[in-house]
């Protein structure tokens, strides 16, 4: 078996549970929207996605009450994803533009920017409410 090291491993994997996470369902449903409607009605169950690892950089969260309007985040943002709102002295972040580098998090002097675990951000409208953080 020393020349064929894969065989014991392969046989072990045959009896253990597969590593694949069947998200969102075991097999591709006939219609995704129909499936989601069923899930909403409680008729079907959605397989939860794989848990995010530690220090995962997902959609940005912004604590506007803590923000002091110093514009440091705008200065460091390599993707120009952050816009200043002069009236309220806060910022607006466009998630479609964001490259999830988290440099603004490091630069913020009052730590009002954080990366969340949320990564399911698909949308048909790049200016939808979900994709603009104010």
């Amino acid at each position: 078996m020393s020349r064929l090291p894969a065989f014991p491993e392969v046989l072990r994997q045959f009896v253990t549970k597969p590593a694949t996470n069947l998200f969102p369902a075991r097999y591709l449903p006939k219609s995704i929207t129909g499936y989601l409607e069923k899930v909403a009605a409680g008729e079907a169950e959605i397989t939860p996605p794989v848990a995010t690892p530690e220090n995962f950089r997902g959609k940005i969260v912004y604590d506007r009450d803590a923000c002091i309007g110093c514009k440091l985040c705008i200065r460091v943002c390599p993707a120009n994803a952050i816009e200043f709102i002069p009236e309220t002295k806060t910022v607006r972040i466009f998630v479609t533009q964001c490259i999830f580098c988290s440099q603004c998090n490091d630069a913020c002097p009052v730590s009002c920017l954080h990366m969340s675990d949320d990564y399911m951000l698909a949308d048909t409208d790049r200016y939808s409410e979900n994709l603009i953080v104010e």
């Binding site: 064929l4 894969a6 065989f7 392969v10 046989l11 994997q13 045959f14 253990t16 597969p18 590593a19 694949t20 069947l22 075991r26 097999y27």
Partner: protein, 336 residues
Amino acid sequence: MIGMVTAAVVGCIGITVYGLLFGLVLQGVDRKCAARMQARYGPPLHQPFIDIAKLLCKDNIIPKNAVTSVFNAAPVIALAASITILLYLPIGSLAPVLGGWGDIILVLYLLTVPGLAMVAGGLASGSPYATVGSQREMVTMIAYEMPLAIAIVAIAWRLYAAGVADPFSLATIAQTPVWSVVGIPGIIGMLLLMIAMAWVTPAELSRVPCDTPEAETELCGGILVEYSGKNLALFTLSGAVKTVAMATLAVVLFLPWNLTWFVPLAGAAGVAADLAFFVLKVLFVVFFSVSLIRVGMARFRINHLVTFYWGYITLIGVAGMVLLVLDAVLGMGVVA
């Protein structure tokens, strides 16, 4: 006479349907098992049926510099030959449909026909990749025929030495397990022949590690590179049927026991139990000889393949044959 012909025709049609359906199911099981071994879930069991249905809906594309007649005839010949093999093989306790007209030597010849058809199709498709693939297929065939022939001839000869009448007939081989004929050296010899046969099966079916003629990574599909649509579907079906044939041959030669020999079951119940047991044995063979080997190994280089089959596997086969001969000469086991 007319009754015999009618029975043969009905049997042929039945075997054709059985071969195609069971072949595709076996392919589904193989894909599922392979997926599990790779820690995946794999496609649903009926995925090969979906694939074939898709291929049958698609157009045949014939390359400009192909020899059209040979190119189109090759898949038909391959499928027809694969199905013909099944007509001479016993299934469970059912006797072969055309058992009276051919024996195991004929099966040995018929097994090469799908491969030869693929070679012809590859050479006729006018692509350098297919030509290289065809040449490799020929080399592969030369490499694995020897151990296969050794295994078959050794078993038939041992039956002959035991005084069994008509030892080359598949019905005889299926009804008299060689294991019950041989003594201790013969059992060791049979185990060696079984190892040889287990390695010949993937080569005969052109599966990994012996898929050198197809070799997706180097030859982009080799022999099959220019085939598409219905022709490719026919080749896929031929491969599926050949899997059934090869597994059945291994079962007949090495695992010929029937359930009804141990449990007294009469009539239809007995036949059904034997068929179920037969399916189990075929699944067992496919699991170890096809799925496990193809997941656990990488592809042989063509020169390695020849060294492996002509060197090691043939040596194992010859050792098994010598032990079987010794077994008969020394008078161990049953000798006439």
